[in-house]
Symmetry: C2
Subunit: 101 residues, 2 copies
DNA sequence: CAGTAATTTCGATCTTTTTCGAACTTTACA
DNA sequence: TGTAAAGTTCGAAAAAGATCGAAATTACTG
């Protein structure tokens, strides 16, 4: 469907990650993904009250900030959090997000 | 000089903090403050290449996000990071910032 | 192959954020 | 008391970000 590009985490700055996580909608997405042990979720499996286009935009931002990994599966795009890499590059970050109500 | 107001940390959301830390200039400020063991710094002791008004604005944002505490001392305003409270409310956050180059 | 479902792209609008210069306030101190 | 130093406030301009509807794309399904 689309060629998603995923930055290498050492090219992602702290401020870029913070910026990506400064939107409640995006934090919700990450939290939903973190709640799914190892499973991936399709974009539309995460309930958000924004339009399709906006949703797509938020996934873009998260992807470009190195936070999520997306791959195509048919007409859907499955996303997951780049846990291992993030824990290495920004230790404690994910815990911060998952512990937040 | 001015009555600074400092929010209680349980009223500060994760996204608000992230938002405040999504600017390189502000992260520099926090890093400079963290580098000073327990000491406070006056705004103008932190070198930044932005105008006075902009600097003042950044300190505002950090203060409103609950990240720094500011008190007046003569004509200067001394700031420090709200370490203890932040470590309690957002464990791991400050480490993330101080470990970043 | 037509239809549908999932997502992206485009273009536009609206809001927020960043930034600055200039004027102002407060305090220190010579 | 007058001058300087440190910050703040204001108003404006520019940049960045969020949001949406509509049209386009892609791939599955009958």
């Amino acid at each position: 469907m689309k060629a998603y590009s995923h930055p290498s985490l050492d090219k992602v700055s702290l401020t870029a990650v913070m910026q990506a996580l400064s939107d409640p909608c995006r934090v919700s997405i990450v939290q939903a993904l973190l709640a799914e042990e190892e499973r991936e979720l399709a974009c539309n499996e995460i309930s958000l009250d924004v339009a399709k286009a906006t949703r797509s935009h938020h996934f873009d931002v998260l992807r470009e900030a190195g936070i999520i990994f997306t791959r195509c599966e048919g007409t859907r795009c499955m996303s997951s959090v780049r846990r291992k890499e993030l824990n290495k590059r920004f230790p404690g970050l994910l815990k911060l997000i998952s512990h937040e109500p």
